[in-house]
Amino acid sequence: MVDVSEELIKFTLLTRERADYLVDRYSERKEREPESLKAVATDLGFVKR
């Protein structure tokens, strides 16, 4: 119990400030702004040039 609680506190302190960035996803950005990300997708090879 103590082990789990300690670990939860540590991981929470590490991630909470960055949580928004950690769950920021390419697929969702693409859904929001398909046009502006087309170039990125092409560059990465996901879309044929």
Partner: protein
């Protein structure tokens, strides 16, 4: 005692890390509630702010619209959270419907609001029977579906009736 300094973090946070705790049994002498309270005491001693959700009166998922006060209370707690603890009894080799119903009321996203995404998650299970990890494994799967960061460690209490005293406090473990 875990501290921000050991993690190379500055001390500029104004609030303590926030943890709601969900537990999966409505019994009067619920061992998962006892374990939830033990977790609360530990997290508070380590500097966390804890709120325990009481699922009494929460309707089954989709039996009613989400503006029900118990649903709103649950969602508000999840939005407020930075980490969560979920404690379930293991019934028929898995987590209880009471636990799952609470999780089912939490959407992945509601407009731009994301009640669970990016939060840490600690999973725990109690059982009166033998050792098993089915319920904690299921809780991990459900956490992943909600894009939560589950800690590698977990708690699994077996023969719970031996582990807690009359007042619901966990007996000290013989080393």
């Amino acid at each position: 005692m875990p501290s921000s300094a050991h993690l190379g973090l500055s001390q500029r946070f104004v609030h303590a890390p926030r943890f709601p705790i969900l537990y999966g049994s409505l019994r009067e002498r619920s061992f998962s509630r006892f374990l939830a309270y033990e977790a609360a005491r530990l997290l508070e001693a380590m500097g966390g702010e804890v709120r325990i959700y009481d699922a009494h009166g929460l309707p089954l998922p989709d039996d009613i619209t989400a503006d029900h006060p118990k649903v709103q209370e649950l969602r508000a707690l999840s939005i407020w959270s930075e980490g969560q603890v979920r404690v379930s009894p293991e019934r028929h080799g898995n987590l209880t419907g009471v636990m799952k119903s609470q999780i089912d009321w939490l959407p992945l996203s509601e407009g731009s609001v994301r009640p669970t995404q990016g939060r840490t998650l600690a999973v725990m299970r109690v059982s009166s029977g033998s050792q098993s990890f089915n319920a904690v494994n299921s809780l991990r799967v459900l956490g992943r579906r909600r894009r939560m960061i589950a800690t590698p460690n977990q708690a699994s209490v077996t023969m719970a009736y031996k582990e807690f005293d009359e007042a619901g406090r966990k007996r000290p473990r013989l080393l």
